[in-house]
């Protein structure tokens, strides 16, 4: 099987690449080659059981999508996106990357026209949902996004289902929960604090908590995100019918639950590095986000996430901190 990963330089792209490099395959299928694509040059893992090449270009340039699929990859991960904040401040860039480039990829695949029908795994987002919504969002609740990011992703989801229904590609869209604990530097995104308040204290650094502990949200670890992608690559899409987009499982918990889990795992001194600094702007954004999901369809298809926030913290300590932290 030959793979193309678009958006390979991003956080999830790097995790997925590392996983494939380590496993040498996807599920039970051996992988012969991987093409890593992004607008910035992706860095392949140093040790890989699979040959990896890199391509650096703008997917939206004329002919670029056609060039990327010229070798007929059997499996395409399309992870490239302009995220929520940037898509809101740069309207044109958001639609260009999140909608037009996705369509350019789908059109390039459709234009082959010789029966080529690759599996396309597309990362979508819970931002396709907007208030008012019920405390628990089920698989039949409408997409009514409140950001241009969520709008373009919801449009791409519709395209994914339509192109799949017509047999042009074999698509599956996975709506990721908020990924926590995000590795790397503190993030200024409105959602950044959800990871900051765990990652920074474990590093011996102070972190700012801008919202009350009662705020509830929907999480999965980076390891789960990779598991979702690998599962989506292998799942029998006939079981999806014509609805090709799935809300992924996750963990619903409050900021208070996050902090309690950190206390149990890392102790009071670590938790004491969280500084409360209420910020009305952040609160207004965060209050509009989903709190919980019933992901019955994804569950029935074998997608699995964490069941406690403690598990999410332990995964972070294992995968990012080599098993230790600053007590």
């Amino acid at each position: 099987m030959n793979l193309l990963i678009i958006g390979a330089a991003g956080m999830i792209g790097r995790k997925l690449t590392a996983r494939i490099a380590a496993d040498g395959g996807i599920g039970d299928d051996p992988v012969e080659s991987v093409m890593l694509h992004d607008v910035v040059t992706p860095v392949p893992p140093q040790a890989s059981a699979v040959p990896m090449q890199t391509e650096t270009s703008d997917l939206g340039s004329p002919g670029e999508a056609e060039r990327l699929i010229a070798k007929r990859p059997d499996l395409i991960f399309h992870l490239a996106a302009v995220l929520s904040g940037e898509a809101e401040t740069d309207f044109e860039k958001g639609y260009r990357v999140n909608l037009d480039n996705t369509r350019a990829l789908f059109e390039a695949i459709r234009s082959v026209g010789d029966g080529y029908r690759p599996r396309v795994v597309f990362t979508s987002t819970i931002a396709v949902f907007g208030k008012p919504f019920p405390a628990t969002i089920d698989d039949e609740f409408l997409s009514a996004p409140l950001t241009s990011y969520g709008s373009a992703k919801a449009m791409a989801e519709l395209m994914l289902s339509d192109y799949s229904r017509r047999g042009y590609l074999d698509g599956i869209g996975i709506r990721l929960p908020t990924i926590c604990v995000r590795p790397g530097l503190p993030n200024k995104a409105a959602s950044g604090f959800y990871s900051n308040i765990i990652r920074e204290p474990l590093n011996g650094e102070e972190a700012v908590l801008p919202v009350p502990e009662t705020i509830r949200h929907w999480f999965a670890s980076p390891r789960s995100a990779t598991n979702f992608l690998v599962r989506a690559a292998a799942v029998d899409t006939a079981l999806l019918g014509d609805r090709r987009n799935l809300s992924m499982p996750g963990l619903s918990c409050t900021v208070g639950d996050q902090i309690e889990s950190l206390r149990r795992i890392a102790g009071e001194r670590v938790v004491a590095r969280i500084r409360r600094e209420p910020d009305a702007t952040t609160l207004r954004i965060v209050e509009r986000w989903p709190e919980n999901f019933n992901t019955a369809r994804a569950n029935s298809l074998g997608f699995v996430a964490e069941t406690s926030f403690g598990e999410i913290i332990r995964i972070h300590i294992e995968d990012e901190l080599n098993g230790s932290f600053v007590p």
Copy 2:
């Protein structure tokens, strides 16, 4: 108020134009001018209380949307579409007209950038919904279309809400029921028989019924369609919040109910002109269509449709047959 009607040559466009010509305004607002646009030349009503001009062009040609809004219409009806059957057989044309041309219009409006923010009334469709769905579809049920027509319309709905949320335009999307009784010649669309079995017998002609009488569907008259458009032009869109698309009210009834109403109004001889000729292909298409809606949001905003199929037949006899039929 200055109006632009895009898709003015179509059945609903002509009805709307005639209504504005007769009323001289929209609701309580006088109309100073109307520009009628379509790909085929629209024919203005012979007597009109309002000056009307026509434009014939392809909305998708470069610069055409900009040219159409150069005079800054206060109110734009965007009714132009490639319908279900053609969008399914000509994939590229369907997306071009139903999605790209709509976006071209929205982008032309956004690009003005001087605070210009016209009301845009967009006609969408119950084809944004696809099986499996409940017997009654409510205002929070997901859009999961099973046609490229429904997919492009659902994408345009998302754009309409996003452009409205951002203040680029003041949009309202109305999802029309199946319009019945359609005037004109018998229609080969899969939905054609719903009108044919009423219109043709009233004309003294035979009509073919290809499905069982138990089939249930969702209807409104052409007069109601015009009422929806006029109401959408005048409604306080602040009441819509960020969800700018509404399923319109209608009447849920079976083919048997249609025929019973025709019998009561026009008599047994008229009904006897309906010939049963079961067609499995038509049945397979029609079985996938919605049967009933709970349109609580639209109802609360003052949108009203017929409450009996007899009313729909009487409207047809009044509006299209000058009050008489072939007994």
